[in-house]
């Protein structure tokens, strides 16, 4: 059974306003890592807010782990099932000490101390912040703060983690740290839906959904999606530099594969090119 099921989802902010999401339908399987790409204003952040009931569909439905996000009764269950992480870590941290911050949601749920202690320690360990457990949150780097924010979410043991541009405000080191944690959590079984503007981050997902004007433009593996470089550029997106290089070599008649995403993949193709193992037209 799918963990997320979006059926003919339509959404507009004002009754007579424009549809921000237009008849979206897709499913997400448990354990998938899905990246959502789209330009500013494409509707992707609006979509993210549907999954834990911050916004409700104007028509159609969004079902997460059997819970209808439109139903009042399911909201509190839904907030435990779906963890949300946003762009700015400073807006998400509520306590001055790392472990207190991570414990915040459990305290509100009235979880017994022993269990809370164990889950907090595990969540902090899962994001690699154990040695900072008793540190002040305001002294952490952006990447560390965002990792603490993630710990504060996974401590509730959500099945689905929704991240809305979690690395937009971080430096390269911070971005790397956060992406590593997200991949690790996904490998441990949490389903991940991540909105990003960085093509190299999307390339690390199992699947990419490209949203344009409130509709799904492309849906498939990173290799499939980035082969459509022209289409992506036409909607204000881009491809990784390695993919762009392949497009340029193709233009010169070299029969290189277009679905090249990482430094390593690109290196192997270039080795083949330089060794004369790739045919050239004309």
């Amino acid at each position: 059974m799918s963990i997320v099921s979006v059926n003919h989802l339509v959404f507009r902010y004002r009754e007579k306003g424009e549809d921000v999401l237009k008849d979206l339908s897709f499913e997400v399987e448990p354990g998938e890592f899905v990246a959502v790409l789209g330009h500013n204003g494409s509707g992707k952040s609006t979509l993210a807010k549907m999954f834990n009931g911050i916004l409700c569909p104007t028509s159609g439905s969004v079902i997460v782990d059997g819970l209808d996000v439109s139903s009042e009764e399911s909201v509190s269950e839904l907030r435990k099932t779906v963890g949300m992480v946003f762009q700015n870590p400073d807006n998400q941290l509520v306590s001055t000490i790392v472990e207190e911050d991570v414990a915040f949601s459990l305290e509100n749920q009235g979880v017994p101390y022993e269990e809370m202690r164990r889950r907090v320690d595990e969540a902090i360990a899962a994001v690699g912040m154990s040695e900072y457990a008793t540190h002040a949150t305001h002294k952490l780097s952006g990447g560390q703060k965002q990792r603490v924010a993630i710990a504060g979410v996974i401590v509730s043991e959500p099945k689905l983690l929704v991240l809305d541009e979690p690395t937009a405000m971080l430096d390269p080191q911070g971005r790397k740290e956060v992406m590593e944690i997200v991949r690790k959590l996904n490998a441990s079984g949490i389903t991940v839906l991540m909105i990003t503007h960085y093509m190299d981050e999307a390339a690390q997902a199992d699947r990419i959904l490209v949203i344009n004007n409130g509709e799904i433009l492309l849906d498939g593996s990173p290799h499939y999606v980035f082969q459509n470089g022209g289409l992506l550029k036409s909607v204000g997106l881009d491809v990784p530099q390695s993919t762009e290089l392949m497009f340029m070599l193709r233009k010169e008649g070299l029969r290189v594969p277009l679905s090249v995403l990482t430094v390593e993949e690109c290196f192997h193709v270039l080795e083949d090119v330089l060794a004369g193992r790739v045919e050239q037209d004309g």
Partner: protein
């Protein structure tokens, strides 16, 4: 022969926060750098490296606790120096500048700086239109409320507001954060156009090595408050190992060349544009 003089120079600049308290911290530690008219300088460094503190010195927003900052040769902290007019000549665009919009219309918002300069109505109008053009803001948006615009448009209005003062140096702190690739490209090409047409120096702080590679001529690398490197883009990205050590990176395309080099291919790993690399590969193949 006339020697070209730096427009802005920092001499052994030091900034220590909280002097004499337990929180004393030296954020900028002896930075010396000359910035020339027409320079386009990228500034990189991980969070906490001191780059934001450093750039806030450049138009006198904060006073160094040691060293000197000169604009056109004059110490800006000498007695009687006109700091107000310095701030018209050294324009600063902060992170998320769209949070600072406040006027009723886009036109008034862009015109706020020139108005404070005491310019005539005609001059203000002329500058507002020119700045809007640089920043890629269509005429028809000028009469709108800035609050009705999209995030990317608001950001451009905020940048136009600085450009309208015609600063001789424009400093931008992460101007493309949170924007999609097209939005990034629009902002960066507007800045480049301003740089070229107004012969203004640009200082661009960015976490995106790709943006730095595509736009800057020289790069300042900050690390623990010190100026770790200050060199042309090529020479900086050639030192990938050191950059990675201090929490930075090189553009992906440079990473690919470094990988080839590691395997013994004779490539120039200082290339950093995709076009250059495509050309190099074709050339090597046809040899």
């Amino acid at each position: 022969m006339d020697e070209i003089k730096p427009i802005l120079s920092a001499e052994n600049l030091v900034h220590t926060y909280g002097v004499g308290t337990p929180f004393e911290k030296t954020a900028v530690d002896g930075v010396s750098v000359d910035i020339f008219p027409n320079d386009y300088i990228g500034v990189i460094g991980h969070t906490g490296s001191g780059k934001s503190t450093f750039i806030q010195h450049l138009n006198g927003l904060i006073k160094p606790t040691g060293g000197t900052l000169r604009f056109q040769g004059e110490d800006i902290w000498q007695k009687g120096y006109d700091l107000k007019s310095l701030r018209f000549r050294v324009g600063m665009v902060f992170q998320y500048p769209e949070h600072q919009l406040f006027e009723e219309t886009v036109e008034k918002d862009i015109g706020f700086g020139p108005k404070n300069m005491g310019l005539s109505a005609e001059e203000i109008s002329e500058r507002v239109h020119a700045a809007a053009e640089f920043a890629g803001i269509p005429e028809k948006l000028l009469s709108k409320s800035p609050f009705d615009l999209s995030g990317g448009q608001k950001r451009r209005v905020a940048i136009a507001g600085i450009m309208a003062m015609r600063p001789e140096i424009i400093i931008l702190d992460e101007p493309t954060a949170g924007l999609d690739p097209k939005g990034r490209e629009e902002i960066l090409s507007g800045i480049k156009e301003y740089h070229e047409r107004e012969h203004a120096a640009v200082i661009l702080v960015s976490h995106s090595m790709e943006d730095i590679a595509r736009n800057a001529q020289k790069v300042m690398v900050m690390h623990r408050g010190k100026l770790e490197m200050f060199a042309p883009v090529r020479d900086v990205f050639r030192r990938a190992d050191r950059l990675r050590e201090i929490g930075l990176d090189v553009p992906q395309i440079t990473g690919i060349l470094l990988r080839l080099k590691e395997q013994g291919y004779d490539v120039d790993s200082s290339l950093y544009s995709v076009d250059e690399v495509a050309e190099l590969i074709l050339h090597m193949r046809n040899k």
